[in-house]
Symmetry: C2
Subunit: 359 residues, 2 copies
């Protein structure tokens, strides 16, 4: 008996060691950290990385755990590019055009004035060469970039006075950052940037005459319908796509199944944010109409739209002349837009125009 | 020495048995069978289940293997509901409205005439109560149903003669199946159903005067631009969503991580088919315009559209009166459409209409 017991004891020790090493390989947990541009509990934008992390954790049976730090934690809302590049964070959730001051060609992967609407832009990304071009821009920085969720067509903004002509734009003080601000500046607008928390007071007190934010999905909670009457339809951000950034070294260390889980979770969460944005916009626009009957929807007059298009084309041509990769991206987008829009015109656009307004 | 060797030998046997049972649990492979309505190599529609299966297999590290049988194999293209219900297949890829003869309320989960466009309908499914209503309809049959990919707005069809008035529809022989066929029948059209392989010859020889199929994405390869000159914009299928069917017993047997992998893979593949459809429609519409300059796009005249809407509303009201669940679904869709369309009108529709046609 004694010998057998001893043998069994050895067996138990050996097998337990083997099992533990096997179990370790199969069950190794990868803990990744994600930094987001948004503050804590930021609706819709903040839901996208959280939905992504939840799907990834569940699909990996807990082997892929992603924790998310909001801007109050990492203190660098517009520094996500560097945080992920350096490896301080493994992942980021932000928007590509925030890095245009650092890497000019990141501008094109969010949205462009007078550019593609969301279904057209997703088709460009996934079937029209957009993903390859985006990788070309991010590769030198040890980064991978993926679509991170679409806001849908953004509104042209809240104006205290109606815009009836180009003259009405002259000297207008408006919060409109980025490339669209440059376009508007060419038309005499004075673009300013004001922190989100001060926007309501700024327009209420007349420090600014107008502002653009997102659309009903996020504008309602900012209180803008209380302080500006004219809500203009969009031209400058027809399909704002957010961004997931991934540190390439982190990605390469993951086993293949977790790489795929991460990629599919990001893709599904991004598409889903577009769906959620559509829902929240529909719901909140309904509320705005009921609670603020004074709000009037306007579209810029034809002469203003034509002047904006011309200014936009000039700026895009300048960028195209400066850099061959910029030229490649711009030409790819314009060629794709031309084809895709012809389809949109005979499908959704024709359909929407052909049926009476739903009452 | 001898004792030690013996002990090690026992240890090896014991640990190997333990390891094998551990490995078995961790690595158990679930082989699922999917039946699709489509024939082999059917583009776009057939890509959706294949993309889904590829993602699921890669994300599960080979633990979830899905094989796909096309209609030439299972011989029941319109019997997927029964094949999955009975457990003969674990999964299906088809379209919900194919079962309306069997379970009337399955009609509403594909698309409805004058209904929502794709982004609106996805918002209804995932954020507006659509998924719950769909489950309510499929639950009694031991089935789960999920969105399976969107074709985008379908064209109104190919006509050999221009439709200038309601009189031009009188007696017109048209291939237009399903609910839309019922609507058209109220306007004097003679709807017929003809197998896909015979459609080209039927319209060429004048057996039928018109037909609807899908849109440029799939119409080009059918040769229709060669035999009909007028291509009408859509009204009857503004957002045709295909369907993944899952046998509930199969689903319940899967471990939780594989359940989530299956669900996310289906969701991502469905969204992606909408993107692929947009791409293929844009590309093929460009080809049709170049290769068939005789093709003319037309929208039905206002009096025809109004008559179709009226006929549609009457049919929907009849269905609503017949069955409380039908009423619940129809009311949910109409209420959602009303809100979502108001948003579409001030976003994508206003944007598309405000800018000149891209040349």
């Amino acid at each position: 008996m004694k010998k057998v017991v001893k043998a069994a004891a050895i067996a138990a020790v050996v097998s337990s060691a083997l099992l533990s090493s096997f179990s370790h390989a199969a069950e190794k947990v990868y803990k990744l950290k994600l930094a987001e541009t948004w503050g804590p509990n930021f609706p819709i934008f903040g839901d996208a990385p959280r939905n992504m992390a939840a799907m990834a954790e569940k699909m990996s049976n807990g082997r892929l755990k992603i924790t998310i730090d909001s801007s109050n934690k990492h203190k660098a809302p517009f520094g996500i590019f560097d945080l992920v590049r350096s490896g301080q964070y493994d992942l980021g959730h932000s928007a590509s055009y925030y890095w245009k001051g650092k890497v000019a060609n990141t501008l094109y992967f969010t949205t462009m004035p007078f550019g593609m609407i969301a279904p057209e832009q997703y088709a460009w990304f996934y079937y029209g060469g957009g993903m390859d071009l985006m990788q070309k821009v991010y590769e030198p920085f040890n980064l991978m970039s993926f679509p991170g969720g679409n806001t849908g067509n953004q509104m042209g903004g809240w104006f205290r006075k109606e815009i009836n002509s180009l003259e009405d734009l002259e000297g207008l003080k408006m919060r409109i950052p980025g490339f669209a601000g440059e376009v508007f500046a060419k038309l005499g607008v004075k673009p300013t940037n004001i922190p989100p928390g001060e926007l309501y007071t700024a327009i209420e007190r007349g420090t600014i005459d107008a502002l653009e934010w997102v659309g009903p999905s996020l504008d309602l909670r900012m209180g803008f319908p209380q302080v500006a009457e004219y809500y203009y339809t969009g031209w400058h951000e027809p399909a704002t796509e957010l961004q997931f950034l991934v540190n390439k070294r982190t990605f390469n260390k993951l086993p293949e199944d977790l790489q795929e889980i991460l990629k599919v979770a990001m893709k599904a969460a991004a598409y889903d944010m577009y769906t959620q944005s559509t829902h929240e916009s529909a719901k909140n626009w309904d509320t705005i109409k009921k609670d603020y009957p004074n709000v009037k929807v306007r579209t810029f007059p034809k002469e203003v739209i034509n002047a904006m298009r011309k200014a936009n084309e000039e700026l895009v041509a300048e960028k195209s002349a400066e850099d061959p990769l910029a030229k490649e991206i711009i030409e790819s987008q314009l060629a794709y837009l031309k084809k895709a829009r012809k389809w949109t015109e005979i499908s959704d656009e024709a359909y929407l125009n052909s049926i009476s307004v739903v009452e």
